[in-house]
Symmetry: C2
Subunit: 372 residues, 2 copies
């Protein structure tokens, strides 16, 4: 089977390197900028790929919204299936991609958008052949896990640890997509769409870990808990809810013990119970591996099919919990929870985020975590 | 697609219950003892199943070596594919089953033999499409994990905890298959066969947890470790080794934090790195779910193919480590390791097992664990 790779950065090279050892899959074309094009496979002209009937699958490794969005639509429109690791573009245009794929007999394969090399999307799809997936949650961002894990192990504060993550290449120069939860938000949208069969809303509570301090970890650690940035969702009775937020989890949970930049994602199904998947959440070879697995699945006849017409309703009331706020003034309706921290019980994730929004108008370094 | 179920105990009923909700899969026949046969689907006569050309897949849920062995061979010989949860029979006859399947255009599907509802076998197979699997390890027995976890959490001793596990139905009246490591041995043989493409030997070191005491957990706990019964294997350079043994693992590892009767299995591949899979290792619905997933995979065109002709050599020198022995007299070449315990460093799993064999001739309650 002939494929094309769009973008020849870290991930694109990883795909090319892995495919070189696999019989029956050939990289026919690679799209890159004109001055990067070397050798007969490389072209700066997308028309040479989308117009080539020999190419069955386009592997998009460019990242960003445009031109990825346009290129994916053109490929699907030409009846070519698309494998992508681009969570931003899938989160933004999943429904449009799914309809275009459907209308043109093509497939969208998105294993590499969530959890790097972890077989997370395929596992959700597999579970759903038998079960309703009623809940999912995950450590879906390696950078923030690395930061929290390093803060705990080295007793270091946030800024210092972020700087070290940037030095090691685990965090971008502009870290906001990671530390403000945007990357996890995209992965949560995609996971919820696949798990619950819904064009998941982009309007839901998202809180990152930018304000997390060593003192917060110590305070919650004293209650036997470890903080992790979690994307999660629930569905029942035709309704669903999702959120991204720091959670303070029991120290003996698997999540609490995920080291370095690894990821761990959990699904819950009606007959299977709880399944957890752990592995490298990023990196050239794990992400490339996930993309090549999608190519091989497609070659073996797997045809993932996304139909979001089931019409689940977004209902934030489904996600309620107890939240700890570390801030200078006690929030209304709170009770004390250790030094400088207050507990607000039984509120929705949306109400917690709204409360944090009002708190940061006077205390911009306030921190919030859901207690588990 | 029409299937037959052999055996209508807990797992067989689980399969029947799950299949009832799935379009396109029909339970045409169920084999059971004559006095259990009620209704038109049930028969005590296997000839009515193996001779029925409408039945494409036989789902074996009987357990035990015979008649399961004969029935599986007859089904495969008739070109019917077999889904089984029977680890004892697959561990004993994997090579014979694989050859018979191959010769008759049938498949053997064994997801439910290892790790209950965890997609462990399919994940090894999937990883191997791209990577060499260089290592695997796992908590593959829920009963022993429940026992160790309860001993730790309740500060109770082995006998008392085993009795409680028996009351709860987590352990058999005769617990030796679990606590002496026989069940994990079978799962290790199957995992190694799939991971390394070898008809795995049955002659390798197996040690259970029958002699584990609360004092052992305390002693190893004081060094920051938790004991788990682990089946594991490595392969490199055309050689492989496997073992089943108690391991003392870092308290912050995921393995150390696996609760109750859950399982956790790990594989390591050349490009994917480390992947871990966690879930219910037993139970009617999770095991039934795994079997129905195999049926659905087969219906979707998955044709697992086991060919053990690669000829890997068993080489125990590949598995070396440091072992702690709790016994009355210091073993030769050991150094002290806490109260009543000694450390023997850098020996093979086979040498450690041989040393334990010699120790138990004078101290039958001695305990051994591999240090990690």
């Amino acid at each position: 089977m002939d494929i094309a790779i769009l973008g020849y950065g870290t991930v694109g090279r990883g795909v090319d390197q892995i495919v070189a050892d696999i019989d029956g899959i050939e990289v026919r074309r690679i799209l890159d900028l004109p001055d990067h094009c070397v050798g007969p496979r490389m072209t700066p002209d997308y028309a040479q790929i989308v117009g080539d009937p020999a190419i069955e699958v386009v592997v998009e490794c460019m990242g960003g919204l445009e031109p990825a969005h346009t290129f994916i639509l053109q490929a699907l429109g030409a009846g070519k299936s698309v494998v992508t690791s681009n969570k931003a573009v899938v989160a933004a245009f999943f429904d449009e991609f799914a309809r275009t794929a459907e209308a043109n007999g093509a497939c969208l394969l998105i294993e590499a958008t969530c959890g790097g090399g972890i077989p997370w999307i395929a596992s959700i799809e597999k579970a759903r052949r038998i079960d309703e997936v009623t809940r999912f949650s995950g450590i879906l961002n390696g950078t923030t896990n690395f930061i929290v894990d390093s803060m705990l192990k080295n007793g270091a504060d946030f800024a210092e640890t972020l700087a070290r993550a940037q030095e090691l290449g685990y965090a971008e120069a502009d870290p906001s997509a990671d530390i403000d939860g945007i990357d996890v938000k995209n992965k949560t949208i995609i996971s919820a769409s696949v798990a619950f069969d819904v064009a998941c809303t982009a309007e839901f509570p998202v809180t990152g870990i930018r304000s997390l301090t060593k003192a917060d970890l110590d305070l919650l650690g004293a209650t036997g808990r470890v903080v992790k940035l979690i994307g999660h969702g629930v569905a029942r009775d035709g309704r669903y809810a999702v959120a991204v937020e720091p959670m303070a989890l029991p120290a003996a949970s698997l999540e609490a013990n995920v080291p370095s930049n690894f990821n761990l994602a959990t699904l819950e199904g009606t007959t299977i119970g709880e399944l957890k998947f752990y592995g490298q959440g990023a990196g050239s070879l794990p992400t490339g591996n996930a993309m090549v697995q999608d190519v091989l699945d497609f070659a073996a006849g797997r045809r993932p099919h996304y139909d979001f017409s089931r019409g689940l309703t977004y209902d934030p009331a489904l996600l309620t919990g107890d939240y700890v706020f570390r801030t200078t003034t006690p929030p209304e309706g709170s009770e004390p929870f250790g030094e400088g921290a207050w507990l607000v019980s039984g509120i929705t994730a949306e109400a917690a985020r709204a409360l944090l929004d009002s708190i940061v108008t006077t205390d911009q370094n306030a921190f919030m975590a859901r207690l588990v």
